[in-house]
């Protein structure tokens, strides 16, 4: 009873302080909003309109049609013409273009003799039967861009020769569930919830106790009968509401602006989010009991935040990581939450079908609360 009263006192105090702190309050709303727009529009692994150049040695109608056909894929956009390869390579080095298409003098002969595209097997006895018709020189440093251009390697050119489209029967049929249009944003937005919550929840609570210490309130607070665990709970409860507001902003706007579906039940979503918010908040509290000042607490927050962005499966698939990174990934609450929320939002799973993640978040929270309460000493030594 007394305990509840004290938790309530701290809760109300925190809420009042938060209300007066316009900057933090603004961040609660603006941070998810801006991040959503940034990530939603900017991150896109379906690459379009890569600026490229061309060195056309043949200068025929064919080479022009070839370029038009390539442009029609929308993967690349021809922005520059060069007369020599050297010029083109310099342009790549200066990052004016990402790649250059070199069309050889004999492009029409090569096309004619080409095994699949060509007009038959007339010259198949000669050694040069199936040479590629032109060459791409690519700035390979960005693998995503390189891969997009590599994807052009086998593009069909039948149209070019006014031949009926040569449809090969594929070896496999691929059925794309959950995101049939392959829009990156569908995967990004639920993951973004995990990243934003990690950022704000840990940042707010990691400053919580440090701030009281810096402003001198702690000396008064620890002479009162308040217990560490009451202090911890009173401090995290207001932020649970804030976390909930942020989730609503991200998923709601994600649904409205980017048409991200919410296939699962909202209750399941709320359960998973509750687990994750409490886990992040207690992690913040643990940081708060370690850091000596707000700068240190900020640095430690970033220390957790970076791997949560990079290793949680938000940006890169977990399966592609080296084993060590996978271990780190498993330790982060964000990883488990991003799995859960993608499961619920995109695949309509029940969170208890993903028991491991649920247990892990619960245990993390309990352990965090215990560690923070134990670490918080009611003295100044």
């Amino acid at each position: 009873m007394n305990s509840l009263l004290r938790i309530q006192a701290i809760f109300i105090k925190e809420l009042t302080q938060l209300k007066r702190d316009k900057m933090t309050f603004g961040m609660v709303v603006m941070l998810p909003l801006i991040q959503l727009l940034l990530f939603g529009y900017a991150i896109n692994s379906n690459i379009r309109d890569i600026p490229v150049g061309v060195v056309d040695h043949s200068r025929t109608g064919l080479s022009r049609v070839l370029m038009q056909t390539i442009s029609a894929t929308q993967v690349v956009k021809f922005t520059e013409h060069y007369t020599s390869e050297q010029q083109a390579v310099t342009a790549i080095a200066r990052a004016e273009i990402r790649a250059v298409l070199v069309i050889p003098k004999d492009v029409s002969q090569r096309l004619a003799r080409h095994r699949t595209l060509g007009l038959g097997t007339t010259s198949s006895t000669k050694g040069e039967t199936s040479r590629p018709i032109a060459q791409w020189v690519v700035d390979g440093s960005d693998t995503v861009i390189a891969a997009a251009i590599k994807g052009l390697r086998n593009m069909p050119l039948s149209e070019l020769l006014r031949k009926p489209v040569n449809r090969n029967t594929p070896t496999f049929e691929v059925a794309l569930f959950y995101n049939p249009e392959q829009r990156t944003v569908v995967n990004i937005v639920p993951g973004l919830v995990g990243v934003i919550l990690t950022m704000t929840m840990i940042m707010f609570t990691s400053a919580a106790i440090v701030r009281e210490r810096e402003r001198g309130n702690l000396e008064m607070l620890i002479t009162t009968p308040v217990r560490p665990v009451e202090l911890m709970l009173g401090k995290i409860i207001p932020y649970m509401f804030i976390g909930a507001i942020q989730v609503i902003i991200i998923l709601g706007l994600g649904h409205i602006i980017f048409n991200v579906p919410i296939n699962g039940s909202l209750l399941q979503l709320a359960d998973a989010t509750f687990l994750f918010i409490t886990a992040s908040l207690t992690l913040g509290l643990v940081i708060s009991t370690i850091a000596k000042n707000q700068l240190q607490s900020m640095q430690m927050t970033v220390f957790v935040l970076l791997p949560s962005i990079l290793l949680s499966g938000f940006m890169f698939p977990y399966e592609g990581m080296p084993v060590v990174a996978q271990y780190i990934s498993e330790a982060l609450p964000a990883t488990h939450y991003i799995r859960l929320i993608r499961g619920v939002v995109l695949r309509d799973v029940h969170i208890f079908e993903m028991t491991f993640d649920v247990y892990w978040l619960s245990i993390f929270t309990l352990a965090g609360l215990v560690v923070a309460s134990l670490r918080f000493k009611k003295n100044l030594d």
Binding site: N2, L5, K13, G216, M220, T223, N379
Partner: protein, 308 residues
Amino acid sequence: MNDIAIKVSKLNRNFGDIRAIQELDLEVEKKRIYGFLGPNGSGKTTAIRMLTGLLKPSSGEVEVLGLRLPQDAEKLRLKIGYMTQKFSLYNDLTVKENLQFIAKIYCLPSRLQKTRIDELLNIFGLENKINQLVSTLSGGQKQRLALAAATIHKPELLFLDEPTSAVDPENRRDFWEQLFDLCDQGTTILVSTHYMDEAERCHKLAILENGIKRVDGTPEELMQQMGVHVVEIAASDLRLLKQKLIKITEVITAAQLGARLRVLVKNSISDPLVFLKKQKGIMPGDRLSLVRPSLEDVFVTSTGEGRQ
């Protein structure tokens, strides 16, 4: 035994090489105002923090209200109030919100809360500041609020660490009136200060220097037992006279007070007036008179080592 609120023996506290408190013995009676008088860095705050259970002693025994520290620190919390040297309430809350917060932390029943807060606002003259943000209060108002917060749960024992450092003399008198009221109601108060006039109001006091208790007792006792003669000299060139007098081994200190020089002479001299008149620098026309020692004289004599 039951009349003793604080009993301390051989208390030590070190911070690395710094010996902040050394071999402190202390006995504070209940329902009394006990003062810690000492210059900056003398260990007043450190001593109070150990008595409230916020710092662990390096060695020594501490018993406060019959509870042994630091083991029973948690049990002590409800019985004591502590006003820290640095203002420690929330600047971004209003006066009322701060008091409500503290009231709830001490679990005052909700009906009592309102009456108690109104009562405190009335006693400390903060009624018209209820909804003002604490950051906008004046130094003196903040200090009164801090005292109100420290006494909200009617503690038996109150620790005040330099409570009047930002308060003008008028308000300081009012502040002390309130302390005496609390004392009359049965509260024991331990207060630290570096103002002589405040120290003189205490029932008993201890003078600390460099973590060592130099003397303790009632202000009267201290002044009587000081073992020094105090002579005031009215002369023309006081600065020159001072330079000459302090070179004499029997003279402890000399300090200028307006048109007079206040000279402390050791007890080994039986007639200080005759002794001083014989000294070089004293002119025949100078007037010398023996005066009653003040607490400041006590302070200067007992902390004099290492000075001048």
